[in-house]
């Protein structure tokens, strides 16, 4: 509005240019904006450290630690992948919900329920070979996560209960339920008075991939599950009818309904799929990293998954990249805490700022007017 009016020729030139080079703004949105966002978020994070009386020297050391701790060595990459795997899995679930216009806050509870189921199967059934026991435990996580989330989907379809309420309530219920389950004699580790489960048997543990290099490297076969699921979600969303129906009901539920799509069924399916993915994330944690369940073992994965899904713009590949970024920040953040003594919580600030800037291209353009030529496109948004 405040920009100088364009002459018709300029307008035409703009339009033609856009047709000739449509990749321009795509390139800006996909590369420049995220790079700027990460950069600005780190600078602001540094300012927060300065404000809390951390010396410049320490700030420098902490950012070096952040880098080396996330991608600086094979061990660091292993940690990054380990942290990213559950985030990507649960994030895919939340993203599927977003695609279908369904806001699933319940990933945290689904991670917990799926993880509990996987642990229970994982420490029972001794004597089975790994190629039967491990898939069984994973499947238990998938099924229980899917069923648990399916409750919210079914309630929405059958009664119209708002999914935000029902998933929040299901989260709260799952926290209490896990607290209770961890004290049941059959699940609680023998001889312990605190709530902790039996350890997962070796035959149900996701094998570590790099322990022949260094026994401390925790990256495990869950990484392949993650990659497979990224491909699977991509295929489902963009290459199948049901995926088209998901997207259609997310874009315009009324139109989808009039086109004959069964909205109730779609809601239940999407929710079950989201829960299955979150349950798999939980199973992945207990079978690959933790080896047992304790109160709050989900450790915020389900809530971070919402951020990952948003950051990845609900696209499976985007979710993968966003999950890797968050995993890197988490792994690097732990190194930062050890090396420079700066609290890991700083990472939360940086993560939130990155999301804010990536979600608001207009804001980044307002802060950095130079370097962006694709103004015409941004105005159309």
């Amino acid at each position: 509005m405040s920009e100088p009016a364009e002459t018709p020729t300029e307008k035409l030139a703009h339009q033609l240019l856009q047709k000739a080079a449509p990749s321009r703004t795509v390139y800006e949105d996909l590369i420049i904006v995220p790079v700027f966002a990460i950069f600005v978020a780190l600078v602001l994070g540094g300012l927060v450290m300065l404000a809390t009386n951390v010396s410049i020297d320490t700030i420098g050391r902490s950012y070096i630690a952040l880098l080396t701790g996330s991608v600086g060595s094979l061990g660091a990459i292993s940690e990054t992948l380990t942290a990213a795997t559950p985030l990507v899995l649960a994030g895919l679930g939340v993203a599927m919900g977003f695609r279908a216009g369904f806001f699933n806050i319940g990933a945290e509870g689904q991670v917990l329920m799926g993880g509990m189921a996987a642990v229970i199967v994982g420490f029972s059934f001794g004597g089975l070979p790994i190629y039967i026991h491990l898939p069984m435990a994973l499947l238990a996580g998938v099924l229980v996560g899917g069923l648990y989330a399916g409750i919210a989907g079914w309630l929405r379809a059958a009664t119209g209960a708002h999914e935000v309420i029902s998933t929040i309530m299901l989260n709260l219920i799952s926290f209490r339920l896990v607290d209770y389950l961890l004290k049941v004699p059959f699940i609680q580790k023998a001889g312990r008075s605190d709530p902790i489960s039996n350890a997962v048997l070796d035959s149900a543990t996701l094998p570590r991939l790099l322990d022949w290099v260094d026994p401390n490297m925790r990256v495990h076969a869950g990484v392949f599950l993650m990659l497979f699921m990224v491909w699977f979600c991509y295929w489902l969303l963009f290459k199948t009818t049901i995926g088209f129906e998901f997207r259609a009901s997310g874009e315009n539920p009324d139109a989808a309904r009039f086109a004959g799509m069964r909205s109730g069924l779609i809601v239940v399916l999407v929710m079950a799929l989201a829960g299955a993915l979150a349950g798999l994330a939980g199973a992945n944690q207990v079978l690959g990293v933790l080896g047992r369940a304790s109160p709050g073992f989900s450790a915020g994965i389900g809530f971070n998954a919402i951020s990952v899904a948003l950051l990845g713009r609900s696209h499976p590949v985007g979710v993968l990249i966003a999950g890797l970024l968050f995993g890197a920040l988490e792994a690097g953040g732990r190194q930062m805490q050890v090396d420079a003594g700066v609290s890991l919580d700083l990472i939360g600030i940086v993560q939130s700022l990155i999301i804010a800037f990536i979600a608001a291209p207009l804001l980044v353009r307002a802060v950095f007017p130079w370097g962006f030529r694709g103004k015409a496109a941004s105005r159309k948004e």
């Binding site: 927060v48 809390t52 009386n53 951390v54 806001f103 806050i105 309630l155 059958a158 009664t159 119209g160 209960a161 708002h162 935000v164 309420i165 029902s166 929040i168 309530m169 299901l170 989260n171 709260l172 219920i173 209490r176 339920l177 607290d179 209770y180 919402i306 951020s307 948003l310 700066v342 609290s343 919580d345 700083l346 990472i347 939360g348 600030i349 940086v350 993560q351 939130s352 700022l353 999301i355 804010a356 979600a359 608001a360 207009l362 804001l363 307002a366 948004e381």
Partner: protein, 422 residues
């Protein structure tokens, strides 16, 4: 003719929906009756003694002594009657009322069963109910204010947390009144940030809210582990004491609940009343609601949609800042990492449960608060039910109620949609 036909079909459709809900409610009520008969009515005599006042109170009410067995069989009878009535109902009317009465009877039966042969301070529990409801009600009210102008505020959790943090920090340095004002201002500031992101920069509303939650959680946890752990005097704020209102505070039961509390409880009640009056009985409230329902129409009438959204989201932020400050300045005087612990989200649930109405949100918050304090007291009474299940009960009840009655409750029509002025 055609219009008539359409009208009849849609009325009939509504009727079937109401009838189906009525049938569902009937089944739920009969199940509750069964639970009551099989569990709660199985008491070996003994009276349940509810203490209503302390011996030191000016007007002392005698203890309420309930014979447990007979009382609970009456409860079973009432529940069965209500259930059968809803099941057979041909009009589908009164479903909400019947379910409401049913749950109240169930809770009464449960209390009597748990207390049989023992004594228990009912007033104490009700007082705790109001205290626990305050932050949830304020979260809900903040949600009502911003969603009525069509801005979804997922960031309430973060704003509550920011209020709690600011209250503790500034309260420790400059006293509790300054701390409270600072908390309200910081809440308003986050409301402003949300409004700027959402209204001016058109960030997706959910993303903006999530960003605020993450940012506040990160910043407050960071400062508390980096600074508070070293300088403890920064996290030791004076707490507001309870002020007893003369005469009103002496009324049995009601007095301790509402008139022997600190300023947060009074403030919360006043704000709910003021917000109700403002939203539904003033010109500006009507403008605000029109912006939430149909921004284009509001714009054509000369209402500045952007400004109205900014103002209300900021007001919501201030309310949430006040509610957050309660956790530190009204209760413990000390900030802990993530001390809101999901209360903002429960506040959102209270808002939806309360049908986007301030009083509804307060009522829903009181129900959550009641369940919370009930669970605490029941742990003392040592019932055979594990305390985790008692803690779950309110959430399960919420799901049942939301599915059973509120069902397709209607949110403001433009909720969540950005408005782009032509």
């Amino acid at each position: 003719m055609a219009m008539d036909a359409v009208a009849t079909t849609s009325t009939r459709k509504l009727d079937t929906a109401a009838l189906r809900q009525s049938k569902i409610a009937g089944v739920i009520l009969i199940l509750l009756a069964l639970v009551t008969a099989l569990v709660f009515a199985q008491v070996d005599g003994g009276d349940a003694v509810f203490r209503l006042s302390r011996p030191t109170d000016p007007w002392v009410l005698p203890d309420l002594v309930v014979p447990a067995g007979p009382f609970n069989w009456i409860a079973v009878a009432i529940l069965t009657f209500l259930g059968v009535r809803q099941w057979l109902s041909k009009t589908g009317k009164g479903t909400s009322l019947a379910l409401g009465i049913g749950f109240a009877v169930l809770i009464a039966a449960f209390l009597v069963w748990a207390t049989a042969g023992k004594a228990f301070s009912l007033t104490g529990m009700l007082q705790a109910t109001v205290v626990r409801a305050v932050p949830i009600a304020m979260g809900g009210l903040a949600g009502v204010l911003s969603e009525r102008v069509a801005v979804v505020n997922i960031g309430i959790e973060g704003i509550l947390l920011s209020g709690a943090f600011t209250g503790a920090l500034i309260g420790s340095l400059l006293g509790n009144w300054v701390g409270l004002i600072a908390a309200i201002l910081v809440g308003g500031m986050f409301g402003f940030i949300l409004a700027a992101l959402v209204v001016t920069y058109r960030v997706d509303q959910i993303i903006a809210g999530v960003v605020i939650n993450l940012f506040v959680l990160g910043l407050t946890s960071y400062v508390s582990s980096q600074v508070f752990s070293e300088y403890r005097f920064l996290n030791n704020a004076p707490v507001f004491r309870a002020i007893s209102i003369p005469v009103l505070g002496d009324i049995p039961v009601i007095g301790p609940m509402f008139f022997q509390q600190n300023i947060f409880v009074y403030g919360a009640l006043i704000m709910v009343a003021a917000a109700t009056y403002y939203l539904f009985y003033t010109k500006h409230g009507l403008h605000a609601r029109s912006v939430g329902e149909h921004p284009q129409a509001a714009d054509t009438l000369g209402i500045n949609v952007y400004r109205v959204r900014y103002i209300h989201v900021i007001m919501g932020g201030m309310v949430a800042g006040f509610g957050g400050a309660f956790l530190t300045l009204g209760l413990v005087g000390r900030f802990d990492d993530n001390m809101t612990n999901g209360r903002g989200f429960i506040g959102l649930a209270a808002m939806i449960f309360g049908r986007w109405h301030p009083v509804g949100a307060l009522m829903a918050a009181l129900i959550f608060g009641f369940a919370d304090s009930l669970q605490q007291k029941m742990a003392l009474l040592q019932t055979p039910i594990p305390s985790e299940f008692l803690a779950m009960a309110p959430y399960i009840a919420t799901i049942v109620v939301v599915a059973g009655i509120v069902g397709r409750s209607r949110m403001p029509a433009a909720d969540g949609k950005p408005y782009i002025k032509e």
